[in-house]
């Protein structure tokens, strides 16, 4: 999933920059703003990567490091771009859209979504481990809340549940996956302040007329 965060609206500041250095500096202003937004987002995701392991903890499974990867991608700022109109931070990561809205996951090449309920199944697709654990499906009758359960043979005649099968999963919006709007604004303002200082210093040094 892809998410772009754009910062615009330094209109009056841009006018001042246009008068001081010319319109070409607008891009620098937007780059400064979005660079600060990027640092803020990276720090936020690093914090999330260190603390959010609900699913793996519940199953006593090793963490998938899903948000650690997001933190690294967002910092590879190459994720950022700026032109005269806006600065944009791009986050290409599965599940990041949840920061803005509910996300409903439906099966694409299968009939059901498999939700892991066992540590051995966590962060694995059933097909990956099907042969390894001799998995089999136990279907539920009509009216059941799930379509069935994928099991593995256990000791004696006991089977162990590995996944629950459902038609779709809806993950609720979680705005805390990203910094708040106010934090974004503050970071962008910091970038604008810093850029302003650069322009002023350059003007003082006679580097720009």
């Amino acid at each position: 999933m892809n998410l772009n965060i754009s910062i615009t609206g330094g209109g009056e500041l841009q006018k001042w920059i246009d008068a001081t250095t010319g319109p070409s500096a607008r891009q620098g202003l937007n780059l400064a703003c979005i660079t600060e937004v990027q640092h803020l987002t990276e720090e936020h995701l690093i914090e999330i990567a260190a603390t959010r392991h609900d699913a793996s903890s519940r199953l006593c499974a090793p963490p998938s490091n899903h948000w650690a990867k997001a933190a690294e991608k967002v910092a590879s700022a190459s994720a950022i771009g700026a032109d005269e109109d806006a600065g944009t931070l791009t986050i290409n990561h599965p599940g990041i859209g949840r920061a803005l809205h509910d996300v409903t996951i439906k099966p694409v090449e299968a009939k059901a979504i498999a939700i892991p309920v066992n540590a051995l199944a966590y962060a694995h697709r059933p097909a990956e481990i099907w042969d390894r654990y001799n998995l089999f499906i136990k279907r539920n009758g009509k009216g059941a809340s799930s379509l069935g359960v994928i099991m593995r043979p256990g000791p004696g005649k006991i089977a162990i549940a590995m996944y629950v099968l459902v038609r779709s999963v809806t993950q609720q919006q979680d705005r805390s996956l990203l910094p708040s709007d106010a934090e974004f604004q503050e970071a962008a303002s910091r970038g604008a302040r810093r850029f302003y200082l650069v322009v002023r210093a350059e003007a003082q040094e006679g580097l720009i007329s």
Binding site: M1, N2, L3, N4, I5, S6, I7, T8, G9, G10, E12, L13, W16, L31, A32, T35, Q38, H39, I46, A50, P62, S64, N65, H66, A68, K69, E72, K73, A75, S76, A77, S78, A79, I80, G81, A86, T90, I91, N92, P94, I96, G97, L100, A123, H124, R125, A127, E128, F184, S189, A192, R194, F195, Y196, L197, R200, A201, E202, E205, L207
Partner: protein
């Protein structure tokens, strides 16, 4: 004003990845390390992966991971499927393979189709592409002035991190110390290390030394950016200028930006700057910057 959208965009990390050529090879990881960095950064390869289709699939899947199309489990499944379709067997390699590849023990790291090996191939390549982009982005004039150093932090949680008794290996603090001593602590904060932190200037040679496994570490990846070693969970975090001054990494008046050396834009300094403006412009600037 802040806006959000879902319009697909290619990042620099992704573009850099797409510029690489596939390089099927029978070489081992040790032999591959002797290749130039330039060649390694321009190629998609994995030790003993002799089949071009497998190599292309690895490139495509890493591309998808960098694009955020799916997560690691799906990528791993897709590569396992391709290897199965190509008839890969850890004992005999790929069918009709003319290369002289020694047999691999099933499920070992040398078995291209093992979960551990596929995780390693995908995660290492994905992270190297992302951090190459981070290196580039961290070296703009703006980034060098306001964030002059990197801190080495644990980002990825590992079941058995380096340095724990079960790992039978040295931890990153020992590797850091070996690398710092090898470069004479040039651009490395001893003060930060005393506080249990691993911080060095972006232009410090310690990053090359860490990447080269200085201290005799054979698992190094020979890049001056994370991951510095196979299966490493350590990563970079940019360090703000103020902290770099506190840790004696830079002088307050040192800057890569012309005329900005003495500026550390604290609120107080910003206030002082504002007071130099005409009242009208000051009012206007305060309104804009507070927005």
């Amino acid at each position: 004003m802040i806006g959000f959208s879902h319009t697909p965009k290619a990042t620099q990390a992704l573009l850099q990845w797409r510029s690489r050529s596939i390089f099927p090879t029978e070489f081992s990881s040790k032999e591959l390390r002797s290749f130039s960095r330039d060649l390694r950064l321009r190629s998609v390869f994995s030790a003993r992966m002799t089949n071009a289709k497998a190599c292309q699939s690895l490139a495509d899947i890493v591309d998808d991971l960098l694009s955020g199309k799916y997560a690691m489990a799906e990528g791993r499944f897709r590569l396992m499927k391709v290897l199965k379709e190509l008839g890969y067997d850890p004992q005999t390699g790929f069918p009709q393979d003319m290369a002289n590849v020694p047999p691999a023990e099933k499920d070992s790291l040398r078995d291209l189709s093992s979960e551990r090996r596929i995780n390693l191939m995908l995660e290492t390549n994905e992270r190297m592409a992302a951090n190459y982009g981070k290196l580039k982005a961290g070296n703009t004039d703006y980034a060098l002035h306001w964030y002059p150093a990197w801190e080495l932090i644990r980002l990825y949680i590992r079941e058995v991190p380096r340095g724990t008794p079960e790992s039978h290996s040295d931890g990153w603090n020992k590797r850091w110390l070996a690398a710092a001593e090898a470069v004479g602590w040039e651009g490395v904060s001893a003060k930060a290390f005393d506080h249990g932190r691993m911080i060095a200037r972006k232009d410090s040679p310690i990053w090359e030394a860490l990447g080269d496994g200085e201290g005799g570490y054979a698992d190094a990846l020979h890049n001056p950016f994370p991951p510095f070693a196979f299966n490493s969970g350590m990563a970079w975090k940019a360090v703000p200028r103020k902290l770099c001054v506190e840790f004696s990494l830079i002088h307050a008046d040192e800057s890569s930006l012309p005329g900005l050396g003495s500026f550390d834009p604290t609120e107080q300094e910003f206030e002082s700057e504002m007071s130099n403006l005409s009242p009208d412009l000051e009012a206007e600037m305060r309104r804009i910057l507070a927005a």
